[in-house]
Symmetry: C2
């Protein structure tokens, strides 16, 4: 029985794997929509049931992935000489996902799920009360479980525990690379901030007035159209925290509106549109297979920031945007003109909160979190000492003193949900964005003029060709190197910051 | 190895089954929300991906249900003497679901899925074009596959193929019972319609004017509150065809609004609220288990019709509703008074379309479909002869001639999706509603006065105690008999029609 089964499997193994992974994609797509619904639509009393639905989906898709059959099929398909390049790349993505998932014992997977769900709740309460002490035991538990996960995966992949965790968010990224890149950036940041503050002089922090939500929503839809967001395969809705989620051919972005200001919502929407364009530009024939997915969080963030930071905080974009604001945002927007708008779009102000940070102080927040989370994972930093270490870092990097833990080490959700290794991708993404935008400008000399006229097709087309359409068929580094001629590095990013915030201010 | 495993299983079998069925419920709840989303929210380009997500959920939940382990656990749990009444009822529901699902070979399940998905598409096009010929081959395919399904289940349960299919919508219902009940009703309908038309005299078909959608929506929410719909565990949205769906603790009903009329939307919403109250009143501790689900489509429809037809097309309800209409629906509603409103709520007009039919012509539509679908399943009616047979039936029962198949045998989706055996539950539900409402009135002498004052708590409380809280712990007939003192029958229903449309007109 054994031999004929293997022979048959060798013949069909790859096709059978595609079926399995398409089914996993169906379950994950279902989870994507349920997660969107939970954050936008779901009535409050449904939370427990929703948790159970999502848990059932996770158990089932994890079960499909780590089934004995998957390993047998992977082994058999490796010997299939008929596979083409994309199929081979797909197979290697499948093997990567299998290796990561199967390395972690299922009781550890379950323990993490339970701990994370409790920890996130505890974090919400602790943040609200600025009370680190009540969160500390949860942080310890989640940290120690995630270290075990990192050890298990690391053992299987030959990585340190922290690198094994980071590899889950950006495959192939390592702390050695991050150290090399951040090591160049870190010493430059304090001086850059100082120079930027000096160059900027005094300026208003926001437009005063009232800006009707309905007009903001209309404007967001106009901008989504201009950027090429395909509304037949996506939506814009409202949630407390903006995000980009959903499923295949169903990319759902969210924003939140405030009547007393519009820039936060608007730039947040543009950020999510950048994420969405990546998802909508992934290679259609591979949409349900691992190779047809986004490469990782660094490239994903590069796409949101290429839109939000590189393209849409420029003088050209301000020229395009100012008349639209006057058209859609009511009488209080009637005096908005491009130069003042550009000043606001590039306003620098050191603060406590990462998600509110401007482009030039943002990396300081990330550098600090990277150092702290790695030290916690390696054991060099005891979680009890996190608040003090966080405050020290903020003073050193941003020259501010954290008034309480709510505005300090409790501000982000990531550690409460066990997402150690995620933070670096925010700044790596910013660097990749600068590098890609630089390359796009070189390839498209009219790029900035086209943005000023509201035409994003050249930029998005270039990203589509050089990033989106690659899916996960190559590594982050290979995609960047092919697109820009250089591996991921900080040079274009630092030059961009210097130019925008100091020399061309 | 075998014996200890069985011993262990006997001890834990029931608990393990609860875990399995809770997981199935998680997957089915996920499907419920995805289905809601597809009909209310989803962008059009996502349809194919959504189909793949729903198919993945179905494959996985079906796989859990028919796994060898399920049978072994069921067998082991049957011998567990420690189970209490609800656990035992739950076990018997599990066994029922397993018996139905495992009776059908998986290749037949898959063939039905594929055929139904094609057939539904073909039906939409055929209905649009009033072109039965293009739908006929699909109808043949779906019919023959569903006959095979009915044969397979029927063989396992000792039922005829048609009864086996009907049992899927209303467990325990049989065509012998339906024949006995419908046989009493059918001869009465034509005379009742004639008498009703005569008693009604001439009356306007609708209020003229424009009624703002926002006011209609506000009013719907007011009525939902009055009826006791728990908005923390449900929502009201808009879809092309109203429905009640969703998941555990997340009951989602829909309606559609027209500016030039409000009664259709309003009564449709009340109908769906009736369904929703049943779902929200199911026994909470059993919410994720088979025994905690609604008993079947007859009782489900009884709950929607108890609200829409029994409670809300009364003079008392018109007294409560008229001032609300004046308050919410703008200047064109300013002249609405209870007696005119009551006349509209009980207006009789024979027509072609089942879903637009009034209470008294509705059963004619169902009687006809029941006869036709059963004849197709038994082979007495060739699908090619369906249009003619449909027209003959309409002439006999409603004295109208079907102008084309769009307004005739192509009007309903059910046969295109293979739902043979479903139609009878609409009228059985109407009878159950009349019978239950009669019993509630006997138990609550002030019932009609409380409705006139907008207090639905007595009615809903009675239904909660006598129907909702029973879940699927007893059969439709046992629940009805306990609640009303009699098995399901047509007497209360016929008396109700006679009284409302003839004697008390």
């Amino acid at each position: 029985m054994r031999v004929p089964r293997l022979v048959e499997w060798t013949l069909n193994a790859y096709a059978r794997l595609e079926t399995t992974f398409a089914r996993i994609d169906g379950l994950e797509g279902a989870a994507g929509i349920l997660d969107w619904d939970a954050r936008t639509t779901m009535p409050p009393g449904a939370a427990e049931g929703r948790g159970e639905q999502l848990a059932a989906l996770k158990v089932m898709s994890h079960g499909l992935l780590v089934a004995d059959e998957t390993l047998e099929l992977l082994t058999a398909a490796m010997g299939d000489g008929e596979l083409d390049g994309w199929e081979r790349a797909n197979l290697s993505e499948m093997a990567r996902l299998y290796a990561r998932a199967s390395a972690v014992p299922s009781d550890l997977v379950e323990a993490v799920e339970i701990a994370v769900s409790r920890s996130e709740q505890a974090w919400r309460a602790a943040r609200e009360a600025a009370d680190f002490a009540t969160f500390l035991p949860h942080l310890r538990t989640v940290l120690s479980l995630k270290v075990r996960v990192g050890e298990a995966i690391g053992q299987s992949l030959g990585l340190s525990p922290y690198d094994a965790l980071m590899d889950g968010y950006d495959p192939g990224m390592s702390s050695a690379r991050v150290d090399a890149i951040f090591g160049t950036v870190a010493p430059r940041i304090p001086d850059l901030i100082e120079a930027a503050l000096e160059a900027q002089g005094g300026a208003a922090a926001a437009y005063p007035g009232t800006f009707p939500v309905e007009g903001q929503r209309r404007l967001a839809l106009v901008l989504m159209d201009a950027l090429g967001f395909d509304k037949a395969r996506g939506r814009l809705d409202v949630s407390l925290h903006p995000f980009c989620g959903g499923a295949v051919d169903d990319v759902r972005i969210t924003t939140r509106y405030r009547e007393d200001g519009f820039l936060g919502s608007l730039m947040g929407t543009l950020h999510e549109v950048g994420h969405a364009l990546y998802e909508q530009g992934l290679p259609a024939p591979w949409r349900r297979q691992p190779v047809g997915k986004a490469r990782g969080m660094t490239l994903h963030e590069s796409q949101s920031l290429a839109v939000e930071m590189q393209a849409c905080r420029t003088r050209g974009f301000a020229e395009f945007l100012a008349p639209l604001l006057r058209e859609h945002l009511g009488p209080d927007a009637s005096g908005i003109e491009p130069e003042g708008l550009y000043k606001l779009l590039t306003r620098v102000e050191p603060g406590f909160i990462r998600v509110d940070a401007d482009e030039i102080t943002y990396p300081a927040h990330v550098l600090l979190r990277y150092d702290l989370e790695r030290a916690m994972v390696t054991g060099e930093l005891d979680p009890a000492d996190l608040p003090g270490a966080f405050d020290d870092g903020m003073r050193e990097l941003l020259r501010v003193r954290v008034p309480d833990d709510r505005l300090g080490c409790l501000q982000d959700i990531h550690w409460s949900t066990g997402d150690f290794g995620y933070f670096p991708t925010y700044s790596l993404g910013a660097m990749a964005a600068a590098q890609l935008f630089r390359a796009a400008k070189d390839a498209l000399p009219d790029l900035e003029r086209s943005i000023a006229s509201g035409s994003f097709e050249p930029l998005v087309g270039w990203m589509r060709e050089n990033v989106h359409s690659k899916g996960a068929s190559a590594s982050t580094h290979a995609i960047l190197e092919k697109a820009t001629g250089a591996p991921l590095g900080p040079d274009a990013y630092l030059a961009h910051l210097e130019r925008r915030y100091v020399t061309e201010r």
